[in-house]
């Protein structure tokens, strides 16, 4: 790893339950991201994905460990890290423009009203909401609300964007359009993005790196999968790429079986050196790596060669 723009170093989160018992959601979690990278975290509910994101955002503090962003350990929230919430979290008593302006005027306190408004308008236009500036959130559809959430996050020109399942409450069509928008904006602005998702296809389309987490409690980051698809991939022809199914099957295999059995099968897993997986073409992978399961191998098995990056 040359450029560690974000480095999560050995964080843990524990909750004390009744009677002095502590529940460990995860511990000794190490994770790093380069500048301009788009990362997706996939894992089952309860593995602590949202907690990791909240710690990154500064909304939650780790029980142990530290998070370093751009060379500095974070303490609390920051305008450098914008959050797009799952439930969009718009202030319902403010208009679209009011919601975005609130963020803008929070970042640049000394700006006058006209400057704030003009800046907010730029980002409203960017997400394609021109003409709806004076509507209130209750008058908007779910997709439009999330667009406002994106505009609000982008308007403060953050160093990175944190997204907690931002599109999970949207219908498939709207989700697709918004994924396109987010990808376009992130590519154009070189934004570093960290996103939690349940949607494997969403991760494949958007992410440069996909972090796979095992089931909680006691969840660990099992592997980092590098997305082999070309950077100029499109949503419509994504599934035609020869590596698409290998990647998809690898992730689904992980979610279906390996996320449960990972800890038992990999006792020597080193959380500081999580294997970086390059998914290759099935013809080229070495079969000995895979579990001998002929029926699955006959179809696209999604075999992979874990290799530790150095």
């Amino acid at each position: 790893m040359t450029d560690k723009f974000i480095s999560i170093e050995g964080i843990a989160k524990r909750y004390s339950g009744a009677g002095g018992a502590t529940t460990t959601v995860f511990e000794n979690l190490w994770l790093s991201m380069a500048r301009g990278e788009f990362a997706c975290v996939i894992g089952h509910s309860g593995c602590g994905k949202t907690t990791v994101l909240n710690i990154l955002a500064g909304l939650d503090a780790p029980s142990e460990g530290a998070v370093i962003v751009d060379g500095q350990a974070i303490s609390g929230t920051s305008l450098d890290r914008a959050v797009i919430f799952q439930s969009h979290a718009l202030l319902p008593w403010r208009t679209v423009l009011g919601n975005v302006s609130y963020a803008v005027s929070s970042k640049w306190r000394s700006w006058d009203r006209a400057k704030v408004k003009a800046h907010a308008q730029t980002f409203i236009d960017l997400v394609g909401l021109t003409g709806s500036e004076h509507k209130r959130p209750s008058e908007l559809s779910g997709g439009m609300k999330q667009r406002v959430g994106i505009a609000r996050a982008l308007s403060i020109t953050p160093k990175m964007m944190l997204m907690d399942e931002p599109f999970s409450a949207l219908d498939a069509l709207t989700r697709g359009t918004l994924q396109d928008e987010v990808r376009r904006i992130c590519l154009e602005t070189g934004q570093t993005a960290f996103m939690i998702t349940h949607d494997v296809d969403e991760a494949i389309y958007l992410a440069d790196k996909i972090f796979l987490m095992t089931n909680g409690p006691g969840a660990v980051l099992a592997e980092v999968v590098e997305n082999p698809l070309p950077r100029d991939r499109g949503r419509t022809d994504l599934h035609r790429h020869p590596l698409y199914y290998a990647l998809r099957n690898h992730i689904i295999d992980f979610l279906v079986t390996r996320s449960k059995t990972f800890a038992a099968e990999t006792p020597d897993h080193d959380p500081r050196n999580v294997p970086l997986v390059h998914v290759g073409k099935p013809e080229l992978t070495i079969a000995s790596d895979a579990k001998p399961e002929p029926s699955r191998e006959a179809s696209w098995p999604g075999l992979s060669r874990p290799s530790t990056s150095s």
Partner: protein, 279 residues
Amino acid sequence: MSTSLRLRAGLVSIVLLAAFLGIWHLATRSTGTTTTMSPEYAKLMGLTATQGKSAMPGPLDVGAKLWEHLKRPFYDNGPNDKGLGIQLAYSIARVGTGYLLAVLVAIPLGFLIGMSPLLSKALDPFIQVLKPISPLAWMPLALYTIKDSSVSAIFVIFICSIWPMLLNTVFGVASVRKEWVNVARTLEVGTVRRAFTVILPAAAPTILTGMRISIGIAWLVIVAAEMLVGGTGIGYFVWNEWNNLSITNVIIAILLIGVVGMLLDQILARFTRMVTFPE
């Protein structure tokens, strides 16, 4: 559709009112038996005995008297004979003063309690004990310490209207959606600005609901308080007219208390609508 519903509802209301007035009128008609007696004795006995007139005034009597009052609402013929407008103004002024003082105390205090779990837990026993006390129970203590009957009445209004506002403010502030607070936190909005730009607007509908309950209670209590304190006000007027055995005036006062109470409630309802946001 909705206009026709409103029209029909209005019609039913008018029919009900007419029926009520009709029954009232029939029930208070002069139907009693009259006895013959010497004129001097008859003077003492009044119209009930001599003409069989009901002691309860009919709607026409009340209407005529009400018209008289409405024509001259602000006359002042000394301590026991003031116009209804003056009496109502005294009551509204007391309610307004006590209520505004309660707003000034309850809303900032409720904000503090709602935002601080420590204060919330520490003050809870006091609030729980003080809340169910009938406001009139404070009256002797207020009279003894304040030594002014009019200020005591204001104190009683203050103490009775503070609780619903305080509790609603605490509840409203404490139950502001976590995600809205998180938005402010991620934007590094300071505590004071957060209180005014996120928590206040989010809690405003709940706070206004508390204020609406309070104004209703304050208006209920002022009548009782003024009956005790005496001197001026619509509550005193009711009691004074009862001592005068003027049931007509008592009925008029009851009607006016209801109308003013409704107006106060409507004003607060309008404010509540102004701060309510659709989600």
